[in-house]
């Protein structure tokens, strides 16, 4: 086809002959070439040919604006009720630039599908596009992943091209987020699932190039997300949703979520074009694009969902490019810094600096998101540090400025003492003693302070402090009188009145404005605060929270130190009530104001609280440790009172454990325990638990046992009975792990009894105690009983908390494990599948809890003979657990044993041996119950037997010896090993 100079126009005759294929090849070629360069002839021929064709084209007069979406919809409606291929078109779902999407019915497979139909005119005129569409659909069909839209079929009907796809009844992710405003954790979970779809596409060699929240579809049912699907891989507007239909019905872009309105994405016909803000810089520059461009787009989308604004903002490509020159800054909020950093890397301008692929980013997000909570963790732990706030204290100074603080004398004390006598019968011996001691200390201190040679200014603060203490005392007395022994344990905390003697500490408890008018106002506020505090301690958040808020509002112009106190009250109330985001904001304000007004006590308490909230409720141990440094400084300022010091150490140590700094954490937690034993028994339980968890995490069960035993003793001695059941539960579990079966069971049963006695019906401590008992029974080999207990525990918990929460999943997981031990694999597999699903949704797909569940599930599958499936599960679980625990950890080692056995079953001998050797090495390092090491050796022995008899024999003999030292639950394995030696072994090689 050379470009010649235009020749003379052929006659009509010739042209006519051409279109009838009546010319010979040479002449036809000549005429064809002429047509290429002659507009008129071309037009003539075109018209003639079209005139001959059977399907008349739809003509629009020149200058007609494009069909508005509604008209397009109208013309599309005519397709409704017709067939396309084997599909019956039922209704129109939406219209896009490339075609319409219908809901259709596939009679052959009896299912509803989404049918995307390329508009007939389009197909005719641009069959190349049709070819492209078919090609892309073929690529899509190769990916089978739950998060990628499934393409079922591609076909042609006359001039039309259609694609049959999965039907999604839901909304875009953008719409879902705007509607439900979920927390950061849920957003991250959902995006991770979508990200997995992207990763699957990358595996198949497809880069999306247009990833954004509008291209992710979400199906949800009763506030539970059931399906998340990435669509529209290079195809404009695949399955469409209520979203698009609504827009065409007239709502404006502005009425949607603000972030999406800023760049209007829809044209008149409702077509969404790639939005520049999601595009990677190399994409914007028109250069080569690979999977890392999707990583960028994903990061932008997740950032936008978390923070409500995009990382780079601009209305044009130029603005965007300029914005990209600076690093994006995350607005202040709850999102853990680890996630922010992960996204920052995903947003790197240089693709080489970005995450190399989606999986790397997703792993990081999963790790950042999962918190390391114990299986069958401790119950309700509203853990505000509530040393007697002394807020309401000090203000009992009424009357004129020059009033003698000692004038009041011991008047009020008489009343308190009489009530104390009344309730004496309700308290146990230790508590009663404490009460009497406190009253005595109060009396003594007061007398000493108000003696004849007192120093007036000092007397003022000391007495004020004493008054505050008295208020606390009275509150406790009233509470106990009212509720009996089941009164909130918090109110049993009583600060030693003798502490008021220390001027520095006294000052802390009693800041008083000089001006009498201000003083009165401050007093009023503090008295009201005290009532709210009491309500909060009784967990009556429905009243306490709004009251606290109102009080803070009213105190806007009050004396600043009091404001700080009220903020602290509000913050702790929010924290205990579960409003973590608000709590953090409020407590930070309280801390700041406390620092500014030199109310160091409030500042210290606020910082300490923040450590707790950040580490445990928000899952951000790094920030928690930041707060710990401020708390440390503030504590210095108030002379490091022991009770606060204990709390500080406990929170900090636990935060360090959460943040994987276990080595340093141990020293801190030990100090916390020691200090608590001496000076702050009311926090001994917490401190001990912190230390105990640390030991358990590290598999140091003997140390854990020692710590818990000691704590139980200490607590009995000091009369604090909270957590009595909790400690016994943990002690029992650890005893069982060490193989001390009889004692373990006894202690576990004690725990259940205590829990039933001391907490209410709606307290999850009860089912948790039962479940822990089940775990112990399992360890000691009493499976039937364990099954009964765990089912009972599960039922109780479900009654209180419903079935969709993570704890219930963990209980089910335990049930599954028990069933596996009983070799009831069919039931076990069912139960475990359900358990893992619940846990994955609650704690996250990449959490250690989910991994543990997967391990149990794989055992069940293996029991059913589905070894390959089982192996796949163990692989995933191990990946997760190694990330959390490292290689030398009991549960990782056990997982290696499990995987080794599976690999052997499938025939991957060498790999199996490697796993088992790793397990053995780990168990030898850890001080565990010997049965574990025995099991690993037994498994390895069996495998190497075939190739190295001597070694195999030796291993199995060692295993038998170790089994003998282990707990009862290993007995069957021991018997198997002995049997093996008898039938296969050489005579003892001694």
């Amino acid at each position: 086809m050379s470009s010649e100079a235009p020749t003379e126009c052929p006659t009509d005759d010739t042209l006519g002959a051409l279109v009838e294929h009546a010319l010979d090849a040479t002449e036809a070629a000549r005429v064809s070439s002429h047509i290429d360069s002659c507009e008129l002839c071309r037009a003539v021929v075109v018209a003639a040919v079209r005139g001959e064709s059977k399907t008349p084209p739809t003509k629009l007069a020149a200058g007609t604006p494009s069909l508005p979406a509604v008209e397009a919809a109208a013309s599309a409606k005519s397709l409704v009720g017709t067939r396309m291929g084997r599909y019956e078109i039922r209704s129109l779902l939406g219209v896009g630039g490339m075609g319409q999407v219908f809901a259709a019915y596939d009679a052959e497979l009896d299912r509803s599908i989404a049918l995307k139909v390329l508009r007939p005119e389009l197909a005719r005129a641009a069959s190349v596009l049709a070819e492209r569409l078919v090609r892309e659909s073929r690529l899509m069909a190769k990916i089978a992943h739950p998060s990628v839209i499934t393409v079922y079929d591609v076909g042609r009907e006359g001039h039309a091209v259609f694609i049959a796809m999965e039907l999604i009844r839901g909304e875009t992710l953008a719409a879902y987020v705007a509607r439900t405003r979920p927390g950061w954790r849920e957003i991250a979970t959902i995006f991770e699932r979508a990200g997995q779809g992207l990763a699957a596409a990358h595996d198949a060699g497809i880069v999306h190039r247009d990833f954004k929240p509008d291209n992710v579809l979400v199906e949800s049912e009763a506030a539970q997300v059931t399906k998340i699907v990435v669509t529209d891989f290079g195809i404009a507007m695949a399955a469409v949703l209520a979203d698009a239909v609504n827009e065409m019905a007239g709502s404006t872009p502005e009425s949607r979520a603000p972030a999406s309105a800023s760049l209007a994405r829809l044209t008149a016909t409702g077509v969404a074009i790639g939005t520049p803000a999601y595009m990677a810089p190399e994409q914007l520059a028109g250069g080569a694009v690979d999977r890392r461009a999707d990583v960028f787009a994903f990061s932008v989308s997740l950032w936008e969902a978390l923070f409500g604004e995009r990382p780079f903002r601009g209305n044009s490509v130029e603005d965007l490019r300029a914005a990209m020159k600076r690093k994006p800054s995350a607005p202040r909020g709850n999102v853990p810094s680890r996630i922010v950093r992960a996204l920052e890397r995903g947003l790197a301008i240089d693709p080489d600096k970005r995450w190399p692929d989606m999986r790397a980013l997703l792993r990081e997000l999963a790790a950042a998101r999962s918190t390391r909570r114990r299986t069958i963790a401790i119950a309700s732990a509203g853990g505000a540090a509530l040393v007697g706030l002394g807020i309401a204290g000090a203000l009992v100074l009424s009357g004129s400025a020059n009033a003698d603080p000692c004038a009041k004398g011991l008047d009020g004390l008489a009343r308190s003492e009489s009530i104390a006598r009344e309730i004496g019968g309700v308290l146990d011996a230790a508590a009663k003693k404490k009460l009497d001691d406190t009253l005595a200390a109060w009396r003594d201190t007061h007398r000493a302070t108000c003696s004849a040679d007192r120093d007036p200014p000092q007397a003022l603060t000391v007495v004020a402090c004493l008054e505050a203490r008295k208020l606390e005392l009275d509150a406790f007395l009233d509470d106990t009188k009212h509720d009996g022994a089941k009164a909130s344990p918090m109110s049993r905390i009583m600060v030693d009145p003798a502490r008021c003697k220390d001027p520095r500490q006294g000052l802390l408890f009693s800041r008083v404005p000089a001006d009498p008018v201000q003083r009165r106002a401050a007093t009023e506020l503090r008295y009201r605060a005290f009532d709210i505090e009491a309500a909060r301690d009784r967990s009556e958040f429905a009243t306490a929270l709004p009251q606290a808020k109102r009080l803070v509002e009213e105190a806007g112009t009050a004396w600043p130190p009091v404001q700080a106190e009220l903020l602290y009250l509000l913050g702790t109330t929010q924290s205990m009530g579960g409003h973590n985001a608000d709590a953090i904001v409020t407590l930070r304000e309280a801390a700041a104001l406390g620092e500014r007004t030199h109310h160091a006590y409030i500042a210290a308490n606020s910082w300490i609280q923040l450590i707790y909230v950040a580490a445990f409720d928000d899952g951000d141990p790094e920030r928690a440790l930041e707060y710990a440094t401020y708390a440390d400084a503030a504590l210095d300022g108030i002379g490091r009172p022991s009770d606060l010091e204990v709390l500080f150490l406990y929170f900090k140590g636990s935060a360090m454990v959460e943040g994987d700094q276990s080595k340093d954490a141990e020293a801190i937690l030990r100090r916390a325990v020691a200090l608590a034993e001496q000076h702050a028994p009311q926090y001994l339980d917490r401190a001990t638990l912190g230390l105990g968890y640390l030991f358990e995490d590290q598999g140091r069960y003997a140390d854990a046992v020692e710590a818990y035993r000691r704590a139980i003793e200490q607590l009995e001695r000091s009369g604090v009975t909270t957590s009595a059941h909790t400690f016994r539960e943990r002690l029992a579990i650890n005893l069982a792990l060490l193989g001390q079966a009889v004692e373990a069971e006894q202690v576990a049963r004690d725990a259940v009894a205590i829990a039933e006695r001391s907490v209410g019906d709606d307290n999850i401590d009860r089912p948790i105690a039962r479940t822990n008992l089940a775990q112990v029974l399992l360890h000691v080999g009493k499976r039937e009983e364990a099954l009964v207990e765990v089912r009972q525990g599960g039922k109780l918990l479900a009654k209180i908390m419903g079935e969709r929460n993570e704890r219930y999943g963990e209980i089910l997981s335990l049930e599954g494990t028990i069933l596996v031990e009983m070799e009831r694999f069919e039931e076990a597999a069912k139960v475990l599948a359900r358990a893992c699903e619940i846990i994955a949704f609650g704690a996250g797909d990449g959490s250690s809890q989910h991994a543990e569940c997967q391990l149990s599930q794989s055992i069940a599958l293996d029991g059913l003979g589905k070894s390959r499936e089982a192996l796949a599960l163990v692989d995933r679980a191990l990946e997760t657990l190694e990330m959390f625990d490292g290689e030398v950890h009991p549960r990782v080692a056990s997982a290696y044993v499990q995987r080794g056995a599976l690999r052997d079953t499938i025939g991957q001998k060498a790999a199996a041996i490697a796993d088992l050797e790793k397990a053995i090495a780990a168990f030898e390092q850890l001080q565990l119950e010997p049965g574990h090491l025995a099991g690993a050796k037994w498994a390895l022995g069996k495998i190497v037997w075939k190739t190295d008899r001597a070694r195999g024999q030796r291993l199995i003999e060692e295993a038998v010896a170790l089994f003998a030292k282990g707990s009862a639950s290993w007995a069957p394995a021991k018997a198997d090993a002995e049997e093996w030696l008898r039938t296969n072994g050489r005579p003892a090689s001694r």
Binding site: D12, A47, R50, E121, V128, L129
Partner: protein, 268 residues
Amino acid sequence: MTERAISEAWEAGKAQWPDVQLDREMFAVHLETVDPTAASRYPADLYLAAACIARDPVALTIFDREVLVSARGAIGAIDGSSQFIDEALQRLRTSLMVGDGGAPRLTMYAGRGPLRAWVGIAAARTALMMRRSQKRAREVTSDDDWTSSLAMISTNNPELELLKRQYAAAFGVALHDAVAGLEPRLRSVLKMSYVDGLSIDEIGTIYVVHRATAARWIQRACDEVFEKTRALLAERLSLSSTELDRMNAMVRSQLDVSLSQLLPADVE
């Protein structure tokens, strides 16, 4: 022209159109004038044409009823309004039978292809000329302008779409240049596909190639155009900074990407 050839043609015509009356001598003269080498494979059609020129009523009826039909289609392809079609048909008929100040146009038919096809071509020509003379606004008058319609096509390429939206003017220019740089065949085929709305089969018919070949041509044309456009844009946008400044101030255009807007644009 041999006697024998004439006889064969005569027989063929009579066989096909038994009721048509035609003088043999007249036919012979006509035949010798239009097809001296007797190359035509459609002698019966020549016969009918000659009869029409001689005003045989039966022939004229047959012509109106069966042959002019294809004319309707071709005219309708240019403008579907019945008014236009009727008028164009009228003009065509006049031109064919009476002539536009010369001999009847029907005498131009030389039998290289079937009569029907020839009439279709003639009809298209007539209709086009009518169009031209009607001087409608916003006609695509020259080769250059149709590329702006091409700009409206969705390229299915998000990056390019983006550039298109942001820099519509520059995009149009680059697109125009890219199209101008195409080989004539590709450019022609592209136009037929996107502007004229021809199917692959129809394009295959015109160029006497298999539909697959036509499809490949179109694909290639598209790819080349968009590649060139992108390259040109990338080059130009980074060169001319004043151009960029102006573009920044430009309001985001909302280019429509619907192909149906292209279809069937008026073509001169």
